[in-house]
C-alpha cells in the first residue's frame, strides 16, 4: 500500500549507473553485475516506472553525446539511455563488457550529469540519482583550465543546482595495496569534495560481500512516525521528527497460484481468493454473518464478549506526545533489552534552535555516558504507550545535525526473570582450567572480524540479505528457465552464512590449540529413547544437583505406566515388582489395583515366611517399597498403613 501511495504522489526516480569497467576492476565486475542486476530486478517488482540509464567508463570504445558535441570524454560509453526499466536491462547488466583503459570517473560523472540535465532539465528535483562504482585508483586527467579541485567544485555546484544526488561506492580490495598512493589520495580528496559540497555520499568497501550490501537496491521513501515536541518539561520542548532507522525488509509474500483456468485463457489472473465463513462451534450447520460477530477476550478459562464500541469507551487512550521521564546512566540499560526495530529522532529540518538544543543534549549525553528515558505516544488514538531509551548519535559530518536513536524497552510484563546457576557454582569439572582459558582468549582475540586498519567484515550496513539475494537471482533464472533448480548459495554470500575460510586458515594454530584443549563427548548416560524423559532442572540454583537423578526417577515412574501393554494377571516369582507395577497400571478394570495389592501382600508374606535365614528378606523389602510406591500413586494409603510390617 505504502509503495503505491508514494508512486502516486511522487515522481519516479531516475537513476544513472556510472560503472568503472577498466582493467583494475575486472576482478570485482562479477559482483557489480550481480548487485546492479538485482537493483533493476527489484525495481521491476516494486518500482516498475523508475527510469535507469547506464554509463560505462574505462572501455575500449567511446560513445557519448558530449564527445560528439565538444570532444574529449574518451573511453566513456553510454550502454543504455535513461528509460523505464525492463528485463533487457537486467540481462545487459549481467554481461558487462570488460574495458581496456584506465577509467576517469570525473569524465563519467560529467557525461552522466549531462544526460540527466538533457532529459529532465530542472524538473524531477530530488529524484535524480547518480551512482558511481569505481576503485578510484586511476589518475584523473588534468582539466583544460583551472585545477582539478576547481573542476570538481563546478561539477558539485551543478549537481546541487539540478537537485541530483550522488552515491559513490569505492571498491578498495587487495589490489589497491599496489596502487599509486599519490593518485589514490588525490582521488579520495576529490571525492570528499563531492560529499561536502553536494548531496553525495562516498562509501569505501573492501570485500565483494560488502559491495553487494553497499548499493541500496530498494528505494523506500521514509515517512515520519511522529512530528512534534520532545518535551523535556511542560516549559521546555524541542521540535523533532521521528523516523524508523531500521525496518526489516521481508521476504516477498507470494500469491497463491490457481491452475484451474484453461491454458488457453490468456487473461487468466491465476489468483486465489480466500473466503471466510463463521460457523457456530456447537452447531456447525449454522453460518453466522460477519457483522453478527462480537469479539471475545480471554480471561483465564472465561471468554468475555465486548463490542468494539464498548471497548472504545473504556480502553486506554493516552494523549499524543513524547515526554522525558529522566536521564540515567547508560550502563543501566543493557543492550539485550532493546525490543524492536530502531527509531531515529532528528530535529525539525531548518529549525536552528532545535538543532542547537538537541546537539547540546546529545553531546552532553555522550560525554557523561547518560541516556534519556522517554514515554512516547506517536499518534492520537494510539492504544498504548511506548517507553524507551534515547541514545546520542553525534554526527561527524559538518552538514548533518546531531540526532538520537530510540529503542523500545520492555515493560514489567514482558520480562521473564528466570534464574540460572552462577557459573562459579557449577561443578569444578565444568570450569575451564588456565590453559583452556588461554586458548579461549586467543580464539576470541584472533578470529577478528574488525582488524585495525582493515575493513570491518560483516558490518550490518554493508551486509546483504543472503536469502533475498538468492530469491531474486532465482526469480530471474526462472523467468528464463521455468524448471531451473535452486542453485547453491553463491560464494560471496557464503561469507555471511559460513566462517570465512581465509580467517580460519590464517588462525589454524589458534583453532587447533583450542580444539586440543577442550574435550567434547556424547553423554553416555543418555540413550536416545531416554532423552525424552529428561526433565528440566528445577529452577533456583539450590537444586542443580538433581539434574541427572531425575532421569532415573522419571524412568521408574514411567515403567509403571508403560508395561501395561503385556497384560499381567498375577505376580510371579521371577519379577514380582514389575508384575505388580504392571497390574497396578492396568486400566481395563478397577479391580486390578486391589488385586495387585492383595497379590503383592501375599507375595511379601510368602517371601518372608519362605525365607531361609533371611535370604529373601532383601527381595521382600524391595517388594514392600514397590507396594508402598504403588499405593501412593493409586492413593490407597490405608493398604500400606494397615499392612502389618513384619519385623525383619
Amino acid at each position: 500500500m505504502k509503495i503505491c501511495f508514494f508512486n502516486f504522489f511522487f515522481k519516479q526516480e531516475a537513476l544513472l549507473l556510472l560503472l568503472d569497467v577498466g582493467p583494475s576492476m575486472h576482478d570485482i565486475l562479477p559482483e557489480i553485475e550481480k548487485v546492479c542486476s538485482m537493483l533493476i530486478q527489484k525495481k521491476l517488482i516494486y518500482n516498475k516506472n523508475d527510469e535507469v540509464g547506464v554509463v560505462l567508463f574505462g572501455t575500449e570504445d567511446t560513445d557519448n553525446e558530449l564527445t560528439k558535441e565538444v570532444g574529449g570524454y574518451e573511453h566513456v560509453v553510454v550502454l543504455r539511455h535513461i528509460k523505464v526499466v525492463d528485463g533487457d536491462l537486467v540481462e545487459a547488466l549481467q554481461q558487462l563488457p570488460r574495458g581496456t583503459f584506465a577509467g576517469d570517473f570525473l569524465d563519467a560523472i560529467v557525461v552522466g550529469m549531462d544526460m540527466l540535465i538533457k532529459k529532465f532539465g530542472p524538473t524531477n528535483k530530488g529524484k535524480k540519482r547518480l551512482c558511481l562504482i569505481t576503485n578510484a585508483l586511476c589518475a584523473i586527467k588534468d582539466p583544460y583550465e583551472g585545477t582539478k579541485e576547481d573542476q570538481v567544485n563546478t561539477i558539485a555546484a551543478q549537481t546541487t543546482e539540478h537537485g541530483m544526488k550522488m552515491d559513490c561506492i569505492v571498491v578498495r580490495g587487495k589490489q589497491s595495496q599496489n596502487a599509486d598512493k599519490r593518485i589514490m589520495e588525490e582521488n579520495d580528496r576529490l571525492l570528499s569534495v563531492f560529499s561536502k559540497k553536494c548531496f553525495s555520499k562516498a562509501v569505501y568497501i573492501e570485500s565483494p560481500t560488502s559491495l553487494l550490501g553497499a548499493l541500496r537496491t530498494r528505494n523506500i521513501s521514509p515517512v515520519t512516525v511522529y512530528r512534534g515536541d520532545l518535551e523535556l518539561s511542560p516549559k521546555m520542548k524541542i521540535k523533532v521528527w521521528v523516523y524508523k532507522k531500521t525496518s526489516e525488509e521481508k521476504f516477498p509474500t507470494l500469491k497463491k497460484y490457481s491452475d484451474k483456468a484453461p491454458p488457453t485463457d490468456k487473461f487468466a489472473t491465476h489468483e486465489i481468493k480466500v473466503d471466510y465463513e463463521y460457523r457456530s462451534v456447537e452447531d456447525p450447520g449454522k453460518v453466522v454473518p460477519p457483522e453478527q460477530r462480537i469479539k471475545g477476550y480471554r480471561y483465564g478459562p472465561q471468554v468475555v464478549p465486548i463490542s468494539s464500541a464498548e471497548w472504545e469507551a473504556v480502553k486506554f487512550k493516552p494523549e499524543k506526545g513524547v515526554k522525558l521521564l529522566g536521564f540515567t546512566d547508560a550502563s543501566n540499560i543493557m543492550r539485550h533489552y532493546y525490543m524492536k526495530d530502531v527509531y531515529i529522532f532528528i530535529t525539525e529540518p531548518g529549525n536552528t534552535k532545535a538543532i542547537l538544543a538537541a546537539s547540546a543534549i546529545a553531546r552532553a549525553m555522550k560525554e557523561m555516558k547518560k541516556v534519556a528515558i522517554l514515554r512516547c505516544v506517536w499518534r492520537q488514538g494510539q492504544g498504548n504507550v511506548v517507553v524507551g531509551v534515547l541514545t546520542p548519535n553525534v554526527s561527524d559530518k559538518d552538514n548533518v545535525p546531531d540526532s538520537f536513536y530510540f529503542n523500545v524497552l520492555p515493560f514489567a510484563e514482558d520480562v521473564r526473570e528466570f534464574q540460572f546457576p552462577s557459573f562459579s557454582n557449577l561443578p569444578s569439572s565444568w570450569q575451564p582450567n588456565e590453559q583452556q582459558q588461554d586458548a579461549a582468549d586467543n580464539l576470541v582475540k584472533m578470529l577478528d572480524l574488525a582488524p585495525t586498519g582493515q575493513e570491518e567484515a560483516l558490518q550490518p550496513d554493508f551486509t546483504p540479505n543472503p536469502i533475498l539475494e538468492r530469491f531474486y537471482r532465482h526469480l530471474e533464472l526462472k523467468s528464463k528457465h521455468p524448471d531451473a533448480a535452486v542453485p547453491p548459495l553463491d560464494e560471496t554470500l557464503k561469507k555471511i552464512t559460513e566462517p570465512d575460510p581465509d580467517i580460519f586458515s590464517q588462525n589454524k594454530t589458534v583453532i587447533d590449540e583450542f580444539r586440543r584443549r577442550f574435550e567434547l563427548k556424547e553423554n553416555p548416560k543418555l540413550k536416545k529413547s531416554m532423552r525424552r524423559l529428561l526433565k528440566e532442572k528445577p529452577s533456583g540454583s539450590n537444586d542443580e544437583g538433581e539434574g541427572f537423578g531425575n532421569a532415573y526417577d522419571a524412568e521408574t515412574v514411567n515403567s509403571i505406566e508403560n508395561t501395561s501393554i503385556v497384560k499381567v494377571e498375577k505376580i510371579g516369582d521371577l519379577t514380582p515388582i514389575q508384575d505388580f507395577e504392571a497390574m497396578m497400571s492396568r486400566r481395563d478394570g478397577p479391580e486390578w489395583v486391589s488385586k495387585a495389592i492383595t497379590n503383592m501382600k501375599n507375595k511379601i508374606f510368602d517371601l518372608v515366611e519362605d525365607s531361609c535365614e533371611g535370604d529373601t528378606y532383601h527381595k521382600a523389602l524391595e517388594c514392600l517399597v514397590a507396594l508402598r510406591k504403588g499405593c501412593i500413586l493409586e492413593q490407597e494409603p490405608k493398604q500400606v498403613q494397615q499392612f502389618p510390617v513384619p519385623s525383619l
Binding site: 530486478q41 550490501g213 541500496r216 521540535k239 523516523y243 532507522k245 531500521t246 516477498p252 507470494l254 497463491k256 497460484y257 490457481s258 483456468a261 487468466a268 489472473t269 480466500v274 471466510y276 463463521y278 460457523r279 457456530s280 453466522v288 462480537i294 480471561y299 483465564g300 468475555v304 486506554f316 522525558l324 529522566g326 543492550r335 529540518p349 534552535k353 547540546a360 552532553a364 557523561m368 528515558i373 552538514n399 545535525p401 520492555p410 515493560f411 534464574q419 552462577s422 575451564p432 583452556q436 582475540k445 567484515a457 554493508f462 551486509t463 526469480l475 580460519f504 583450542f514 580444539r515 577442550f518 567434547l520 563427548k521 553423554n523 528440566e536 539450590n542 537444586d543 522419571a554 515412574v557
Partner: protein, 627 residues
Amino acid sequence: MDLDPDDIFRDDEDDLENGFYQERESSKELVVYLVDASPKIFSTTCPGEDQKDETHFHVAVSCIAQSLKTQIINRSYDEVAICFFNTREKKNLQDLNGVFVFNVTEREYLDRPTAKLIKEFDCIEESFTKDIGSQYGIISGSRDNSLYNALWVAQALLRKGSAKTADKRILLFTNEDDPFGSIKGVTKLDMIRTTLQRAKDAQDLGISIELLPLSRPDEEFNMSLFYAELLGLEGDDLTQFVPLAGERFEDLKDQLRKRMFKKRKVRRITFSITNGLSIELNTYALIRPTTPGTITWLDSVTNLPLKTERSFICADTGALVQEPAKRFQSYKNENINFSVEELSEIKRVSTGHLRLLGFKPLICLKDYHNLRPSTFVFPSDEEVIGSTSIFIALHRSMLRLKRFGVAFYGSSTHPQLVALVAQDEIVNGSGQVEPPGMHMIYLPYSDDIRHVEELHADINAMTSRATDDQIKKATALMRRIDLKDFSVCQFANPALQRHYAVLQALALGEDEPEIKDETVPDDEGMARPGVVNTLEEFKLSVYGENYDEGDDFHANGKLSDTSRKRKAIAENAVKESANYDWPDLADNGKLKDLTVVELKYYLTAHNLPVAGKKEALINRILTHMGK
C-alpha cells in the same frame, strides 16, 4: 519442560515467523501453593512499604495474588491450588486435620485460575480468621502433624496429569524453621522421619518441592534445623540457599515472585565454533512483548464461540480449490511459479544451527543494530559433555576482552546474522538480576537500515553545533533529572493493565477500575525549583531570551506546504461549521440530509477523524455530541 530432541532436528516449518514470539509450550505447569498459617506467621512482621510493618502472612499472600494475576494473563492454562496448613478449620479431600484448601465455586481444587478466584483471594486477609482460622497443628500430646498432612494433601492434588506432560510443583511458604521444635523425644524423631518420607515420596513422583522461607529481620531462617534435609540440600548448595534475613519487604517480594516462575527453554541448538567442534546450547526467551491475548469470535446473539472456516476460490473460474502448493510472483509481466518446497529451499542457506563467524570489539555493535527482542542462550551438558566448559571459557574471554561474537543463526524459516553478547551475572540483595550467559541480538542487513540522518542535511551551510557552555548546561540538567535506580522493567504496561482490569471488571460484573499509569512523567519532581531553574538556564542558553516555539516557525517561514494547507482547511472548517445548528440537526435526524463534505466540516472543526462512510461520520458526530 520436556523437549523431544528429535523435534529439534525436524524441519520447523510450521512455526513460522509469528511463532517467534510464542514460546513452544509442550507442557503445562501444576502448582500447589502451600502456605503456613500458624499464629507465628501472623505475628512476625518485616518492614514494608511506607515503613509500615507487614506480616509474613501478608507477604506470602500478596506474592501469590500477584503471581495469579500474572499467570491468568500469560499462562492461563497452567493450574493452581492454594492450600493453607496449620489451620483451625479443615477442608480437603482426605479430611486431614489442619489443612484448608482455598477455593471458589465452579472450580476444582486444582484448576486454572479464574477471575473469581483472584477476586476472592484478594480479600483473604479479611476473611481468614472467620472462615479458616489459624492454629498450630504440631503440639505435644497429639499425634497430628499438620506439615505431613499438608504435603499429603498437596501431593494428592497433584495426582492429576501425567508427569511427562506436566511440571508439578509445591511452593511452600513458611517462617517456621523448626516445625517440630515443641515436640520431644521419640515422637519428634518419628514425626520428622515420616514427614521427610512423605516429601521424598512426592519428589519420587516427579513433584518438586520448593521452599520460600520468610525470615525475621533479627533472625535468619535456619535451614539446617529441618528443611535442608527435606529439600535434599547439602554442602555448597545449602550455603547457596541464602535465607532472606533482614531484607526489605520489596526485595523479598521481588525474589519470591522471580522464583515462582519456572523457566522454559525455547529450543536446544547446536553452536558450531569451528569445523568439527560444536557445543550444545539452550535458548530462552527472556524478553518478549506481552500482548492482550488472542480474540475469540463469538456469536453476538448467543455469545457462543464461532469457528472460522477458510476456503480458497479460484479467481478465474470461481471453483473451490484445495490450499494450493504453488505460489507466484509477477515479474516482467509474467507469473513466475514457485513450489512451497522451492521457497523453503531458497531459505535454507545454512546447515548449522548457530555458526560462529568471528569476534568484534563491542563498540562495533551500534545502537541501531537491532530488529527484534533478543534471545538468551545458556550451555547444557545434557547431550554433549564439555559444552558448558567451552561456553564458560569463551564467555570469560569475551567479557574480559570486551568483544562480541558474530554468528549466523540458520533457522529454516528466518535465518539471520546475530551478535552474541556475553553478559556477566549480576546479583544484588534480592537475588540474581542478570543471569550469566549470552544474548543473541538479531542484526539488520544493509537493506533494513535507512539513512535518515542525511535526508534533510543542508549542503549549503554548516549545521549548528552546541557550544561548550550549552553542553555544560545540558550536563547540569542531566545531573538534576537523574533516575538513579532506573531499572528497565520497572513500569507496568498501562494499556495491558487497563485491558485486564476492564476484562476482570466485566467478567465479575464490577465497576470499571482506575488504573494508575506509571509511565507519565513525574510532574511534581519536575516542578521542584532546582529542576525548574536548571531547565530555564538550559533553555536560555540554547533558545535565547523571549523565545516562543510557535513563533520560530512563522518567523522562519519553515512551515511546510502540507501543514499550511492542513491548517487552512481546519480554519475553513471551523468557519463553515459555525453556519449549521448541529444539535438541532442531530435531534431531528437531519444529519443524513447533509452531504459528506458538510459533515466533515463538523468533524474537522472538532479534530475528529474524517475517514469512513457517511453512516460512520454521522455516528461519530452523534457520539461526539454525546447523543
